[in-house]
């Protein structure tokens, strides 16, 4: 099976999984105790009419099966086809509409579109930071096994895996923000905004400021990932360096440098990729904490708020989208794996 066919195959496979995520999340949220409308109206004496009008506004007055079809966007299609009773059905998930947030009184999709980019920027930068340090360190440590370089990098890794990221974050704020006062610790600036919005003269300055603002949260979030990746990189490289195929390359006069960069390196990346794929999505959990510590308005904070305010539509939307992100993460991992390891695509066909 070619890589292209494998890609299409994996994407098609993801459709039923995503559908399942949407269904299960919808049911779970709806079966959870607590009535969102009660929560919304804090006054004791809400009139029947008020409650009814609110329910109508958010589509809560319809039977659950109908709400379900509405939410997924099936009703909209049925309306399009002219099925009676669905004539003016609202758009849903399939049309990119996730309903209205009760707390913000704005469309959920619109809220998320403003909150996803900061989180993506934070998580991806943290990974860029982690990888650029972890991969070379891991390779060098493996190559100089049990020598001082190796010991030092192992101590760094041990520190990295055993220190909670929010603690690192707070320490960084105290040291760089409070004592030294050389780096900003909050009020993130975003490079896609207009520089004038922050009072910067041009885009270059805005980018520079973004980097400065990102530095501490990225170090806080990325240190754990760096440590974990480095450990796996090291042990995987050690294994390859002792393999028969590396011995063979040596026997044919290939230089140690080429062995390190080619013969041993590529097969060693398989476990690293698996790890990154799994951690990228779970590290969103870490992002929630870091967003709170550094006051970044990302998805993490949005989710926390949605739960605190029992914002039914928002909880539903963010959970489903996070589930989708997870599925996409797994697919990307698989594709990267297939790209490096020829055995993967083959196995699917057999």
């Amino acid at each position: 099976m070619s890589l292209l066919r494998y890609t299409v195959y994996r994407l098609l496979q993801a459709i039923p999984v995503m559908f399942g995520i949407a269904v299960v999340t919808f049911l779970m949220v709806n079966l959870a105790p607590g009535d969102p409308v009660d929560y919304m109206i804090s006054e004791e004496l809400a009139s029947e009419e008020l409650i009814a009008s609110i329910e109508a506004r958010y589509g809560l007055d319809e039977p659950l099966w109908r709400q379900f079809l509405n939410y997924l966007g099936f009703s909209w299609f049925l309306g399009l086809l002219g099925v009676p009773g669905f004539a003016d059905a609202p758009p849903g998930l399939l049309q990119g509409d996730l309903g209205l947030s009760m707390y913000y009184d704005r469309p959920v999709s619109e809220l998320m579109l403003t909150r996803i980019p900061p989180t993506l920027m934070l998580v991806l930068s943290a990974y860029a930071f982690a990888l650029t340090l972890a991969i070379p360190l891991g390779v060098v440590a493996a190559n100089r096994r049990n020598k001082p370089t190796d010991h030092i990098s192992r101590i760094i890794a041990l520190f990295g895996v055993s220190t909670p990221s929010f603690w690192i974050g707070i320490m960084l704020i105290v040291i760089f923000g409070v004592w030294l006062g050389i780096l900003p610790t909050g009020r993130m600036v975003y490079p896609w905004r207009d520089p004038a919005f922050y009072g910067y003269g041009n885009h270059l300055e805005l980018w520079y400021q973004t980097l400065r603002h990102l530095f501490l949260p990225v170090v806080a979030l990325g240190t754990l990932q760096m440590a974990v990746i480095m450990r796996v990189e090291r042990s995987s490289m050690i294994e390859s360096l002792q393999s028969e195929y590396v011995q063979l390359a040596r026997a044919y006069g290939v230089s140690e440098r080429t062995i390190l960069r080619k013969h041993a390196f590529r097969p060693s990346q398989l476990p690293v990729i698996t790890l990154i794929g799994l951690n990228l999505t779970t590290s969103l959990g870490g992002a929630v904490l870091i967003e709170t510590v550094f006051a970044i308005n990302g998805m993490g904070r949005l989710i926390v708020q949605s739960i605190q305010t029992l914002d039914y539509q928002l909880i539903l939307g963010t959970t489903i989208v996070l589930g989708f992100v997870f599925v996409i993460g797994v697919i990307i991992t698989d594709l990267a794996y297939a790209y490096i390891d020829p055995r993967v695509t083959y196995g699917e066909e057999a």
């Binding site: 002792q242 393999s243 028969e244 195929y245 011995q247 063979l248 390359a249 040596r250 026997a251 044919y252 006069g253 290939v254 230089s255 013969h263 590529r266 097969p267 490096i340 390891d341 020829p342 055995r343 083959y346």
Partner: protein, 367 residues
């Protein structure tokens, strides 16, 4: 005869394990002449593979070549000198000699382009994430100073010659798409493609069926005729030895027990171990019931038996065999055997050793 192509003298290689030092190769000496095929035979664990990797200085931790000399033409691949300072026990310490090639010289001038090796294990020897053809091409490219395109052509040609059908198409397949026998042929193609002067082949045809083995052996014959290539051929199979080798070295527990021209070894066998080895293989002139496998298993190389290492299993062993360590002695023209029968140390006066069932079981060495 002129200077041999390869001289191995008293080569010693040890592995330092948790349970002590394993003397895997313990004083091995033999020569390889230009254009000659030299057999290296012996049971599993005799030290054949370690001998071959010691020659190319490919022994990995925890192993180390600890003594002896290997010369290739006028170059010293392995050499030791006594250091000025003795070690703690007062014994002279060995240090690598001055004329021994540096690691860089080994890599650039010897490995691949002068001496190529075909590893024993075809399943693990190819890199799983690169194409088979690409791997052959890379080694040819490095060792013959060819352009990528030329090396590619050559690689396809070599794959064809070792009998890989549709070599051009299979060039871009990955190792997992090849059977064990095919991978073995790929390894052979790599060695041949680099056009080395000496090829060390570690049981290269063991995984192949008889037809393919025949083809490979023919190819080897052609190469010797065409390029005067020399071979060290490691094998269990005395049949293959008879077919292609000019001279044979029989190894037992880290030592060579008999060496000589192939005809002499087969028809004028001197060492009881060689005899036992020959008796244990099927031959056209014998029936299966005539076969007599060698008793017991070879002991580990950690504590080899005192005296002659073969004595616990030797049908001819006598009391003296437990005390005297036999040296390789001249027993014919270019024919040597390490058995005290040939010497003057009282073998014939000594009492025969009884091999009974009660004999202490020898322990299997670490693998």
């Amino acid at each position: 005869m002129s200077e041999p192509l390869l001289t191995v003298r008293d080569l010693k290689t040890q592995f330092y394990t948790d349970r002590g030092a394993v003397r895997a190769v313990d004083g091995v000496s033999f020569d390889v002449e230009q254009g000659e095929i030299v057999g290296l035979v012996g049971e599993s664990g005799a030290g054949k593979s370690v001998t071959t990797s010691s020659i190319l200085r490919l022994v990995e931790e925890p192993g180390e070549v600890v003594g002896g000399k290997v010369r290739y033409g006028d170059r010293t691949l392995v050499g030791f000198d006594e250091a000025a300072v003795a070690d703690e026990d007062g014994r002279p310490k060995l240090v690598h000699s001055e004329e021994m090639l540096s690691n860089r010289e080994m890599r650039e001038e010897v490995r691949g382009n002068e001496i190529a090796i075909i590893f024993q294990d075809p399943m693990e020897s190819l890199n799983p994430v690169y194409t088979v053809g690409g791997q052959v091409r890379e080694f040819i490219q490095i060792n013959r100073d060819m352009s990528k395109e030329e090396a590619r052509e050559e690689a396809i040609e070599m794959l064809r010659r070792v009998g890989i059908p549709e070599a051009e198409d299979r060039y871009s397949d990955y190792p997992h798409e090849f059977s064990g026998g095919m991978r073995q042929r790929v390894l052979i193609a790599m060695a041949l493609g680099c056009r080395p002067n000496l090829i060390i082949a570690d049981e290269p045809t063991t995984a192949l069926d008889v037809t393919v083995e025949g083809q490979i052996l023919e190819l080897v014959d052609d190469l010797v005729d065409e390029f005067d290539t020399s071979f060290i051929w490691v094998t269990h199979d005395m049949g293959v030895v008879a077919e292609i080798c000019d001279r044979v070295n029989v190894m037992y527990l880290g030592r060579i027990v008999e060496q000589g021209p192939v005809d002499e070894i087969f028809h004028d066998t001197k060492h009881p171990y060689t005899e036992a080895l020959l008796n244990s293989i099927p031959r056209p002139d014998r029936t299966v019931s005539d076969l007599s496998p060698i008793k017991g298993t070879m002991p580990g190389a950690m504590n080899p038996p005192a005296g002659c290492r073969f004595h616990p299993r030797c049908p001819d062993a006598r009391r003296a065999c437990r005390e005297v360590e036999p040296d390789l002695l001249e027993v014919g023209l270019d024919h040597r055997s390490a058995c005290i029968k040939h010497g003057e140390v009282g073998y014939w006066e000594s009492e025969p050793l009884e091999h009974t069932e009660a004999q202490p079981e020898t322990v299997e060495g670490p693998r």
